[in-house]
């Protein structure tokens, strides 16, 4: 079973993503904390990580950097799902090597389509 890790500090969005992934049949992990996300990634080796950017304590950029810095998690595809929707913000994310830049709000089908792209690989 494919594994998805959700990193999102907004309670409602996190809950929605969790329900979506679980009902699609993914093994789903979720957290609102960057450090916990790194731990979960290390432990469960998810196929895809869906990650918010603006988060307290550790933001999405830091999470991505840390994932890439560790050999066990370096190759896991990371998708930013964020409210930072300007061209400049998107450029920052892409330059950091994120695998996809998804802009909020997004319909569940669109999110699933993006996630599945990376699971097939």
């Amino acid at each position: 079973m494919a594994k998805v890790l959700i990193v999102e500090d907004d309670k409602i969005v996190r809950s929605g993503l969790k329900v979506l992934m679980v009902n699609e049949g993914f093994e789903t992990y979720f957290t609102d904390d960057g450090n916990e996300a790194l731990r979960l990634a290390q432990q469960h080796k998810p196929d895809v990580i869906l990650c918010d950017i603006a988060m307290p304590i550790m933001d999405g950029y830091e999470v991505l950097k840390n994932l890439r810095a560790r050999p066990e998690t370096a190759s896991i595809p990371v998708l930013f799902l964020t409210a930072k929707i300007t061209k400049e913000e998107e450029r920052i994310g892409l330059d950091m090597g994120v695998n996809a830049y998804l802009k909020k709000p997004m319909w569940p089908e669109e999110i699933l389509e993006q996630v599945k792209k990376f699971i097939k690989k």
Partner: protein, 436 residues
């Protein structure tokens, strides 16, 4: 007679016979010293013949001019039997004035007694005239020089005064120039400041719009997810699962509504278009009602306290605005402090103002966040995980300032925070009108 004596007599004879040197011999022993001999030169110079002058004292030549400075010198020389030499003003027979350079020599006999005086006369009129002319010319020259000097002096002083005027003008010009430069600089820097201000304002506005857009996208994302999920899985969902999605939609919509209200409040407040209708409000009663409301919805069993020395305390306020501000502060106090701690509102009346302090024993605010605490969308580092729009304190500040009041904050991390509002007791109507 020796040759020498012969030569001397020859010289004397030559002098006696000369035409332009006068010689006269005076008897020093006769009364009034009369002339006893004159030569041809004397006659030539004076115009008198020997017959006319012999027997007379020489002084007749002086005419009426006996007061000449050289006359007493002659008398003195005669008295002392000395040789002497003076220039005298004398008159010829025809009345013409002439200058006589007179040399006087005393003559002695074998016994050494004074017997005669010899007078040698030279007509020095021409010389004297030349001298006079020279002196006159000299004086004229001196006067001219003085005059030219004076003129030059005048010219120089005119020049100097012109120079002074020019210098003064130049100084004035310089002063005006520098004044102008200062004015230009002032104006330029004013414009620059205005431009900077406008730029800063534009940046703030742009940032505000960007932040609002960000803030809206998250709850919208929640709505999109929940509706999409419901549509996709409605058949397989249990009633509870369906309800969960509906609740999520409701919550997100409420959050959006709250955001919209707050953004509208802030933009109205910044355009000075807040509704403001002050009327007498009992501040103690208002605080008590806010605290009661907070207590009703609080699930963490805080200890709510209202302190006020007066049973009733009336101030002029827009009740809706003031209630919104105080509710915000009280709900923050509840939100950011652990269960069972005290949330306290203290009201202290002064002569013209009322101080309202809202205190909690919560997590506190980091010092570095205090400066921007009242800026829209600013959230303290330790508040990020707690739900909030970041607009609450900005709204509080605007509402209090609208009343002409002030707000201050003191906070100790992990100990507690005190927000202190100072409200004027009276609102003058003019303030309302000018503000509106």
């Amino acid at each position: 007679m020796c040759a020498m004596q012969q030569a001397v007599e020859c010289i004397a004879q030559a002098i006696v016979e000369t035409n332009n040197i006068g010689v006269c011999l005076v008897d020093a022993c006769a009364p009034d010293m009369p002339i006893i001999y004159i030569n041809r030169g004397f006659e030539n110079i004076t115009g008198y013949t020997a017959a006319e002058v012999v027997g007379k004292n020489c002084r007749f030549l002086q005419g009426a001019h006996h007061d000449q400075p050289s006359v007493p010198l002659i008398a003195e020389a005669i008295r002392q039997h000395r040789t002497m030499s003076v220039v005298l003003k004398n008159f010829r027979k025809n009345g013409e004035e002439f200058f006589n350079h007179l040399h006087l020599f005393p003559l002695y006999n074998q016994a050494g007694e004074l017997t005669h005086y010899v007078g040698i006369q030279n007509d020095v009129t021409a010389l004297k005239r030349d001298e006079e002319a020279l002196r006159h010319e000299n004086t004229t020259l001196k006067r001219t020089v003085q005059q030219r000097t004076d003129e030059l002096q005048e010219f120089v002083s005119e020049l100097q005064s012109e120079l002074r005027i020019q210098k003064r003008l130049e100084a004035q010009l310089r002063e005006m120039n520098s004044l102008l430069e200062t004015k230009v600089e002032e104006r330029t820097s004013e414009l620059r400041v205005a431009l900077e201000k406008q730029k800063a304002l534009n940046e703030i506005r742009a940032r505000f719009i960007m932040t609002v857009s960000h803030e809206f996208r998250t709850p919208l994302s929640g709505v999109a997810l929940a509706t999409g999920i419901l549509k996709k899985f409605v058949e397989q969902f249990s009633p509870e699962e369906r309800q969960e999605q509906l609740d999520n939609i409701r919550e997100a919509v409420e959050h959006l509504t709250e955001l919209i209200d707050e953004v509208i409040f802030i933009s109205k407040s910044e355009a000075n278009k807040l509704d403001f209708h002050p009327h007498p409000v009992d501040i103690r009663h208002l605080c008590a009602s806010i605290i009661a409301q907070a207590q009703r919805i609080d699930t963490h069993h805080h200890d709510f306290i209202v302190r006020c020395s007066e049973p009733e305390l009336m101030i002029d306020a827009d009740e809706r605005l003031l209630r919104s501000a105080l509710t915000n502060l009280v709900s923050n106090a509840v939100k950011y402090s652990p269960p069972h701690t005290a949330v306290e509102v203290e009201i202290l009346p002064n002569d013209t103002s009322v101080v309202i302090a809202v205190k909690d024993q919560g997590i506190g605010i980091p010092a570095e966040d205090l400066t921007n605490l009242f800026e829209p969308f600013h959230r303290a580092a330790n508040a990020q995980t707690i739900q909030g729009t970041g607009l609450g304190l900005s709204i509080v500040k605007n509402a209090i300032q609208r009343h002409g009041g002030t707000i201050d904050v003191r906070s100790v991390l992990n100990t507690g925070t005190v927000f202190t509002i100072t409200m004027p007791r009276k609102q003058d109507n003019e303030a309302e009108r000018s503000y509106a």
